[in-house]
């Protein structure tokens, strides 16, 4: 396995669009060619080699030194692996359709938004719009998996259609806003207005809440599928530990009926 590493030469002077640094786009190039590629820096451009020291050999894995000003890391990733030692900026992994993006630090806004496939792992916290919809898009995440060890901001899983989001910490307001399908597992506490406008799909967490008035209380249930989900999570090497063991008896609410929805909020007791 060949690994190509990018180490920052110094502090960044502005926000960088790191979307060109995808393994499959670089695999056929020499180090010198990669160093000459242009990257957007603020309103202008810089060469990759002006910002990064390169080492290793191009192949199916890219290693990046992280920085909160690196935006679009792994955006459009279709295969291979990107590992980031540290944080990333906004829109990491947006629109990715395959491969794996591992962020060892935290991620900014809209990580994994409009994701279609692949796996995004964030060991720190994630900002708002995690796995959500890009502005103006009717669909959010339509496939793949997002595993966040820390907390996330508002509107996680907004307009989600398919796939799995597991957040180890607390979630912000409006989680699963207008969700049409898919699963959102919250290891910590859900925020206010959870499930607003959801039409289908599942939100799962631990402990009672007082849901929005659009949700109908369906009482206590034992749902065999929760064990299947837990088994699935146990098979993933980076599933947040707090998202494990959400099985047994749950209180179930159905909604958001204000939108004709039949989605479910499941509170594990």
């Amino acid at each position: 396995m060949s690994v190509l590493s990018f180490r920052l030469k110094g502090p960044l002077t502005g926000r960088i669009d790191a979307s060109p640094l995808l393994p499959h786009r670089l695999a056929e190039l020499s180090l010198a060619e990669i160093a000459g590629l242009p990257l957007r820096l603020g309103r202008g451009h810089v060469a990759v080699g002006d910002v990064f020291d390169l080492s290793g050999s191009p192949g199916d894995t890219v290693e990046l030194e992280g920085d909160g000003r690196l935006d679009f890391v792994g955006a459009g990733l279709a295969g291979g692996t990107i590992r980031v030692a540290g944080p990333v900026g906004h829109r990491a992994g947006t629109g990715m359709s395959g491969g794996s993006l591992l962020v060892e630090g935290s991620a900014g806004l809209a990580a994994g938004a409009s994701m279609r496939g692949g796996e995004l792992i964030v060991r720190g916290d994630a900002g708002s719009e995690l796995g959500g919809a890009l502005p103006g898009e009717r669909a959010g995440m339509t496939g793949g998996r997002i595993l966040v060890h820390g907390a996330c901001g508002d509107r996680a899983g907004a307009r989600m259609r398919r796939g799995l989001i597991a957040v180890g910490g607390d979630a912000g307001a409006y989680a699963a806003l207008h969700m049409t399908a898919g699963s959102l597992v919250i290891g910590g506490r859900p925020g206010v207005f959870t499930g607003h406008g959801m039409r289908n799909g599942t939100i799962l967490f631990r402990g009672e809440i007082d849901p929005l008035p659009g949700f109908a209380d369906c009482g206590l249930n034992r749902l065999p599928f929760l064990s299947l989900l837990d088994n699935h999570l146990s098979g993933l090497n980076e599933a947040p530990p707090t998202c494990r063991g959400l099985t047994g008896q749950v209180r179930r609410w159905l909604g958001d009926r204000g939108f004709g929805g039949r989605g479910e909020i499941l509170a594990c007791l």
Partner: protein, 562 residues
């Protein structure tokens, strides 16, 4: 001011206001932003550009293109993916921008200039949106621009007409609006229909009474057309007919022409109003009947609103038709909204598909209109940007008109039922360069009353475009060899080389200011701004020298009738 002339030497000057022989070899002198007469021997010639027989035309004029205002901005917001996919950064000359069929304001100016267009007219400025529209147009560089104020569904006018207002009161109101909104014309969109929609009406025919005000579209149309004629505004009423896009609407289009009874009028995006109901699918071309009506009525000018296959967005004040079409939205999202009871606004993204019978027939209907309307002085080249397609498709459209074999090749590719239903394949006409120069320059200039644009006679604004005479007319018109705006070169071989600011073109007919006594309480009771704040001052347009104002002269009795 400089005392040196710029000489464009040895071009084939194609100016149909002088002659129509396909362009004759002559030199062109530019000085102080204008075309100059041949100077005396001793005059100082600065720059000399050898045109080596290339084709020279005046700058092109787009008479109907939605390039600014609330509607266009809503369209941009509705389709952010378009702007994500088509974005460009600053390059020292251009500012950053984005978009393909709803380009951002700076990009709009660059693209027009690179294509040899030096003026474009925003046709749907709602008076309550006028300030926003002008602010946005102020950010469109290089080209001149102007706006048509939309009237005919505004509650003030409808209420006054219902109360029996005289023609002269309406004239004063129309003139007041033209002044206050810094407009160059008046457009009426689905007269009465947009207002009727808000009273739950879903279509409105020419003699159908408005459900609340009790007046008919016919009354609104003829009153407004008479106003512009009485006021001497050169551009006659710009009419978007009733029942846009509905099969069988050709009847209301022909009735509209008849109702005007000789009054000058401009029918816009005629293609969308030329549909019959024949055939198995109850959708057919009525282009021949409509073209015949246009040919017989010299008071009527039109622009076609050709559709071009591909993704675009339809943006119209005609909320009635946009609501009806919202189910066809592709991608599936749309907006319809009222604007201060002044009008409406509907945005429906749409993809014209060449294999879909209806779209393919729309394409053929537009081309039939171009080819069957005989007088290019009264039929102008538009796609109703962005409704039929983006303005950047004009070079392709010009090739369709000038090159019959290319046209028939395209016809052979689209839904095969269309060739069977349309007479397009049998039409032999090919537009000449002179006719293209008329329909894209001299014609629009004449119908807008722009006396110093659209031609290359001494005194004209030095908006000059030089084309390589290529057999592929699409390539020729897409990338002119040189474009001059106000005598300054701004593009070379289809690439921008300089930027600058054009004028805002307005018209200012006389009126009795006593109309403000009626308008003032109306604004206070029903509008969000007071009358004094509503009016746009010249200084707002001039903006410390960044913008210019160009006032179109009012027609007088001695002017030859349109």
């Amino acid at each position: 001011m400089s005392d040196a002339y710029t000489l464009l030497r040895g071009g084939r000057v194609c100016d149909p206001t002088e002659s129509t022989d396909g362009g004759r070899l002559r030199d062109l002198y530019l000085k102080d932003g204008r075309i100059a007469a041949t100077p005396p021997q001793e005059a100082r010639i600065g720059e000399v550009i050898d045109l080596e027989g290339r084709i020279v035309m005046a700058g092109a004029i787009d008479i109907h293109s939605h390039i600014g205002g609330g509607k266009v901005n809503l369209a941009r917001l509705l389709l952010p993916e378009e702007h994500r996919e088509h974005a460009s950064g600053p390059d020292g000359l251009r500012r950053s921008g984005s978009g393909l069929f709803t380009p951002s304001s700076f990009v709009t100016g660059y693209r027009y200039a690179e294509m040899g267009y030096t003026a474009a007219f925003e046709p749907a400025m709602l008076p309550s949106n006028a300030r926003h529209t002008h602010l946005e147009l102020a950010d469109i560089p290089i080209i001149d621009k102007g706006c048509y104020a939309v009237l005919g569904n505004d509650d003030f006018l409808l209420e006054r007409l219902a109360a029996g207002a005289t023609q002269s009161e309406v004239n004063d109101y129309v003139a007041w609006i033209l002044h206050a909104t810094q407009a160059v014309g008046v457009k009426v969109v689905n007269p009465g229909g947009i207002s009727a929609f808000k009273f739950n009406q879903r279509r409105l025919d020419l003699d159908e009474a408005h459900p609340h005000y009790g007046i008919t579209p016919r009354r609104i149309l003829t009153t407004l057309a008479t106003s512009l004629s009485d006021l001497g505004v050169p551009h006659p009423l710009h009419i978007h007919c009733n029942n846009l896009g509905i099969p069988g609407n050709e009847a209301v289009t022909r009735e509209t022409i008849a109702a005007l009874d000789g009054l000058p009028a401009h029918l816009t995006h005629l293609q969308f109003h030329s549909y019959g109901t024949e055939g198995d699918r109850r959708f057919s071309s009525a282009a021949a009947e409509i073209a015949e009506a246009v040919n017989r009525n010299p008071n009527i000018s039109v622009d076609v609103g050709q559709i071009i296959f591909g993704q675009t967005i339809t943006a119209s004040a005609d909320i009635m038709s946009q609501f009806r079409n919202s189910g066809l939205a592709s991608p599936r999202k749309w907006v319809c909204t009222d604007i201060e009871c002044d009008g409406g606004c509907g945005l429906v993204p749409f993809r014209y598909r060449d294999k879909a019978f209806v779209n393919a027939l729309q394409w053929a209907i537009g081309l039939e209109l171009f080819l069957l309307i005989e007088d290019p002085w009264r039929a102008y080249l538009t796609t109703d940007h962005p409704n039929g397609g983006p303005f950047t498709s004009y070079p392709h459209l010009i090739r369709l008109l000038m090159d019959r074999s290319f046209r028939n090749e395209q016809l052979a590719r689209i839904n095969p039922d269309v060739a069977a239903h349309s007479r397009l394949g049998s039409i032999e006409r090919e537009y000449t360069l002179d006719e293209i120069a008329i329909m894209t320059r001299a014609g629009p200039a004449r119908v807008l009353g722009l006396r110093d644009r659209g031609h290359l006679r001494p005194g004209a604004v030095a908006d000059v475009v030089v084309y390589d005479d290529l057999p592929d007319r699409e390539a020729m018109f897409a990338a002119p060899a040189w474009v001059f705006k106000n005598g300054r070169p701004v593009a070379r071989n289809g690439e921008l080389t300089a930027t600058g600011w054009g004028d805002t073109i307005v018209v200012r007919p006389d009126f009795d200011p006593a109309i403000e006594r009626r308008l003032k309480p109306w604004f206070e009771d029903h509008q969000t701004v007071r009358l004094g704040n509503f009016r746009i001052a010249d200084g707002e347009i001039l903006d410390h020298g960044r913008g210019g104002l160009s006032i179109v002269p009012i027609l007088t009795a001695s002017d030859p009738c349109f």
